[in-house]
Structure formats: structure tokens, C-alpha cells
Assembly symmetry: C2
Homo-oligomer: 251 residues x 2
């Protein structure tokens, strides 16, 4: 399994990915799921991926290899929209190549989030479905997720808007990962975190969070303690809230 | 879809169910998913259910009808274990009856949570799988869920233990439902809430939460506001937390 979240905010973009892959519960590995294509000062394009690892690795490898050639590639496309279409086209290419009788019963599909900015254009964030078509984040829906999205969604739903500051969004995203890792063993450390400042084209920064990350451990403990306290502070129900059962049912 | 949670605590049992059923997004109805079989002063048995509505309604109807007869039924079984086995047996009976060529492609299965206490025995809580076998809640795992369980799980994982008081557990459960209803339209009001005090055999009380429930709306607003504040109070990462991207990657 995988969990990735990407946020398109007024001030910038935030990407967080886990790095656990598994084929069954007893075959667990670590693979980075966040990839960056950048020409400092001119463009930054980030990819996140979930799904079949062989497919997504081939897609990223082909996209990288082609950056050295003269054809259309992620370092020369003119817009984020075109970049996303190129990633989607490469997914289709790999799945068509690998879909042989040998792989008959295997799900070869994968999903991608593609976000960034190219000089002259605006910041954008897209989600490519396994089918190859894609949608775009908007101010109404400022975040997109891949993989095991449900455990970590309530904290995003309750707190994240297009106007949320980058700093708060990062912390909200980290809590979302903490919630997910509590409940699903197939989402795991290390986490890769990328923050991009709007219109900077080079002011992007990354961090890899491992088990001994002091900051991450501090905020997850503070969040858990804060929840305990909040729960204790919620009021009791009013006196007449419940009805005795024997007035209501008789079997 | 459905969401039900049941908690087995040191001091008692708590059950919360939603009441939305749907066949597609445009066919939504309200059906109670919490059922009570009780002989005041002697036994209380609560059932919660998810899955095929025709099956679960037939199971509950047969269980009720048979309480009037002389055979083994939920008002005369000697233990919660036997009550659970009887519910599971009735599920198998209904699925076998209704599984005909007419229902070939339909999933007829359903799941039940069964909890309560019978005089002379201890409090117990079981979860019956669609296959008809069942597991039991223990102090290590004091809550069981049915249906759309993921959105509402982190707040339970972080806060609920066997020693949690009934009052706190009720509030924790209500927040878990609030999280779920935020994110999944197929889980919806009204909610049915049942609280049973250990060794009381009659001190059970219920409440139905509708959209204008003042108490529920108060705690969900207080929780959301508290989360905003907690997020704002989380510390900033240390100065050297991030690395500039151009020192790390070049495409």
C-alpha cells in the first residue's frame, strides 16, 4: 500500500509520501515515491506515485532518460498540463508494453500526482487515474491523495483550505500521515516531504522523515496529548439526553 | 454503506450506529441498524448490522419471532457466546434460503456485532463475519467496527482503551462518527446510541441523534475548533529541517 498527499495552496505546493511497498505482509521494502524534475530558476515538477511498482519505476525511468534527448520531455514541455499528459502517456506506454500473457492476472496500473510550476505559467496540481485520464486540484478541493487515503482524510477535511499557510499545511499533512500509520501497517516510514513556494521556480526544499525524526515525533505526541485533553473537555450530555431502555423496547 | 462501532469497556458497553442505506448514490433510505433484545433485570443483548439489508432484516425478524416460541432464542440462551452463535446460525439460514438462481450475482451476506450481558454471566462483545464465524473484543482491543470504518478509526486508536470511562467513550465515538460523515455521504443521520452499565441488566439507555441534536452539534463544533487551535499551536520545524532542492537533485 501507499499513502501520498499533495496540496495546492494559495502560497505554494506541499507533497508528502510514504515509502513502504509490500507484496503481502511478509515482503516489505522501502522505495521512494516522490520524484523531482527541475531546472533551477525555470521549472519544478514533482511526481508522486502509487500502484504497481514495476510500472511506476519504468515510467519514472523513461521520463528521466528522455530528459537527456531532443524529444518532448519533462524539462521542455510548456505547461504543467502538458507535463501531466506526458506522464499519463508514458503510463499507458509501459502498461501496454508489459501487458502480456505472462502478466495476465496482475494489475499493472499505477496512479500519479503531478504538481509544480513552469516559468510563465501558474502553479498546478493534477491526479492521473489508473486509466490514464486526469483531474486538477482547484481552490474548492485544494488537496489530492493517492493510496490509503481514508484514515488521514478527516484532519485534512476539517482543517485544510486553499488559504491555509504552507507551514500549517505541512503540519496538517504530517498529522494525516501519523493517523494513517497508526492504523495501516502497509503505510510506513521514511516519509518524503517537499515544499515549493509559489513563483519561486527554485525555492523548493525537501526533508526525509525517519523514525528518529525529533520534530515529527514531537508534533505527533503533542497532537495525541492535545486530543486527549480536548476529549476530556467536551461537555457531558444534558440530563434528559438518554431514555431508559425498558420504556422503549420490549422484545 | 454503514458505520457501526461497539465498545467493550471496564464499566460497560457503548454502541453507535448510523442509519443510512443506499443502493447507488440516488437511492438512499433510513433504516435502523441497532436492535435490542432485553428482559429487564435479567438480560440485555444488542445487535448492530451492516451488509445486505434484506438478509439482515430477515435475520432480525426471525430472531424476534422466535422469542415468542419455545425453541432456543435470544431471550433464553444461557450466554452471550450462545447468543452470538444463534445470530450467526440465523444469518447462514437466511443466506442459504435466499441464495437461488434469481440472486446469482448479488452479495447476500451481512455482518453483525453482538454485545450485552445475561444474569450470571459477564459482559461480552462479538463480531460476526459475513462467513458466519466470529471474534470477541478483549481488553487489548476494546472496540469493534462494521462498515466504513477507516475515517473514524484514528480518534478511536488514539484515545480509546478498556479503562476509558463510558462518558468519554461516548464522546470519542460521536467524534468518530462526525469524522466519517464528513468524508462519506453513504454514512448518515440519524445515529442510534445505546449505553449499558456493567452488571445492571436493566440500566441501559438509548438516544437517537438527528440533524438538529444540540449536544452532538455542540461537540462536533468544539472538536473542529479545538483541532484548528491545536494545529496552530504545533511548533514550526527547526531551522535546518529542510534542504534546498538544487543541492539534492539534478535532472
Amino acid at each position: 500500500m501507499t499513502y501520498c498527499v499533495a496540496m495546492h495552496l494559495a502560497d505554494g505546493l506541499v507533497f508528502i509520501s510514504d515509502s513502504r511497498t509490500n507484496a503481502g505482509i511478509d515482503q516489505i521494502s522501502t522505495f521512494r515515491k516522490l520524484f523531482i524534475f527541475s531546472t533551477p530558476g525555470e521549472r519544478l515538477i514533482a511526481l508522486q506515485t502509487s500502484g504497481n511498482l514495476a510500472t511506476s519505476q519504468s515510467v519514472v525511468n523513461l521520463l528521466k532518460q528522455r530528459c537527456a534527448g531532443n524529444g518532448v520531455n519533462l524539462l521542455n514541455v510548456g505547461s504543467l498540463y502538458d507535463a501531466t499528459a506526458l506522464v499519463a502517456e508514458t503510463v499507458r506506454e509501459v502498461v501496454c508494453r508489459d501487458r502480456t500473457p505472462l502478466s495476465d492476472t496482475t494489475d499493472l496500473t499505477c496512479s500519479f500526482l503531478v504538481g509544480g510550476q513552469i516559468a510563465g505559467g501558474k502553479m498546478d496540481l493534477y491526479s492521473i487515474y489508473p486509466q490514464g485520464n486526469f483531474i486538477q486540484a482547484t481552490p474548492d478541493t485544494p488537496f489530492l491523495q493517492l493510496g490509503e487515503s481514508k484514515y488521514g482524510r478527516p484532519v485534512l477535511d476539517r482543517n485544510l483550505t486553499y488559504q491555509t499557510s504552507i507551514g500549517t499545511a505541512v503540519r496538517c499533512g504530517l498529522i494525516s500521515f501519523d493517523s494513517t500509520m497508526h492504523s495501516n501497517l502497509s503505510v510506513g516510514m521514511p516519509l518524503d516531504l517537499l515544499v515549493y513556494q509559489k513563483d519561486s521556480f527554485s525555492d523548493a526544499k525537501i526533508h526525509r522523515i525517519t523514525h528518529d525524526d525529533f520534530y515529527f515525533n514531537r508534533i505527533r505526541l503533542q497532537w495525541a496529548a492535545g486530543q486527549h485533553e480536548m476529549l476530556a473537555q467536551l461537555p457531558e450530555p444534558p440530563d434528559n439526553y438518554f431514555m431508559p431502555i425498558n420504556k422503549v423496547v420490549s422484545a
